[in-house]
């Protein structure tokens, strides 16, 4: 198991040293959300009604930008092949890399979301639920995204293909993330039910994502 932590630690260290991906994702998130009030006009009621949806969709798109980097760098310099000859099963190695992506990109995006909520006049009662749903939902983004990143690893300009593959998989996360937030501001469904389903989706992807990603990598690096 120590190999798992070694790989996780290295990926986080590389994120700190090389930066780039996280900053781009955060910057993109900020810009997209900022453009919403500019585009839709200063109608505060409208903004607060669409705020959960805007925050979630923009978060998915921002995370999407950083997905290709999960495996790309390791594939280009040959590290991925050496990782495959380790004692650690490739499934756990991909899990470590997806987890590193969540810690380095998912958590910062989830932390930025409430700040951006201010720009959209998000109702005060929705903030705790917003943060909770984003923490519960972003692991699914990293672990399902890892599957897409692995599938498009050797595809030239695979970024667009990655979006087409991965975004549909994010729909359940999106639906229940938004349902939980709107429930907190007087929507029809219950907060707890939506939140539990959101967590279930994340747990589901936590288990299935690394297995699918490892299979895709084995196939691609043949």
């Amino acid at each position: 198991m120590s190999a798992f932590w070694t790989l996780l630690k290295r990926d986080l260290l590389l994120q700190v040293r090389e930066g780039g991906a996280v900053g781009t994702a955060l910057g993109f998130y900020l810009v997209v959300v900022t453009m919403m009030p500019l585009g839709l006009g200063p109608d505060l009621n409208l903004l607060s009604r669409i705020a959960p949806g805007v925050l979630w969709i923009a978060l998915l798109l921002s995370a999407l930008l950083s997905l290709p980097r999960i495996f790309e760098a390791d594939d280009e310099d040959g590290s991925l092949e050496v990782i495959a000859t380790g004692d650690l099963p490739l499934e756990l190695a991909t899990a470590a890399k997806a987890l590193a992506h969540w810690i380095s990109t998912g958590i910062p995006l989830a932390l930025l979301a409430p700040v951006l909520g201010l720009l959209l006049n998000l109702e005060l009662s929705a903030y705790p639920v917003l943060v909770a749903t984003m923490f519960a939902g972003t692991p699914a983004i990293s672990f399902l995204g890892a599957v897409g990143a692995a599938l498009t690893l050797r595809v030239r300009r695979g970024g667009l293909l990655l979006a087409l593959l991965v975004l549909p998989l994010y729909i359940p996360t999106l639906i229940f993330g938004i349902a939980a937030i709107s429930a907190a501001t007087g929507g029809p469904s219950g907060v707890q039910a939506s939140f539990l389903i959101l967590s279930a989706i994340s747990l589901f992807s936590l288990v299935l994502g690394p297995v699918a990603a490892a299979a895709a990598i084995r196939f691609q690096t043949q």
């Binding site: 190999a3 495959a84 000859t85 004692d87």
Partner: protein, 205 residues
Amino acid sequence: MRLAVENLIVDRGARRIVDGLSFTVEAGEALVLVGPNGAGKTTVIRTVAGLIGAAGGTIALEGGDAERELPAQAHYIGHLNALKPSLTVEENLRFWAEYLGAGTQASIDEALLAFDLEPLAMIPAGYLSAGQKRRACLARLIATPRPLWLLDEPTVSLDAASVRLLANCVGQHLEGGGLVLAATHIPLGLASERRLEIGVRSAAA
């Protein structure tokens, strides 16, 4: 310990690259694959490393650790160096030593010494020359002890002195009962070196 490859068949797409290849490598022996470009040397080494699936035949490390897969008992040195440009030489080496095995400080120091990397230990790998990067990559062999070394053109971009360092390490590995399967155009000057000619295969019918 003995690496036994029998009737190995490897297909790449519709082409049969390796057709019925059999060989053995005994403990303390180095087997060097020779053949023209495109003969399938890299394919054979990658197949033994478990990176390519074989279409037929068996690969076994007899007398090895039965609990571990063959690739986990082998070092694979491919064309790429597997170094992170933003990590120092020592950090790169430490990562691989810890990831691939126990990775003690003593073994890392020994690896740095074996490939004359001590003056470069604190320099990010991105700043190194091609030959220095290659040495940093090869140091992985020493940092984690594994019985089987799979070396695919290990001498690329190395100068004469560095090739001698590599030859020393390979020699010591063999003396300790290790196995080496290599593809190289530059002779390593080893005492117990056997050469295996593999020819160009025609495209599958």
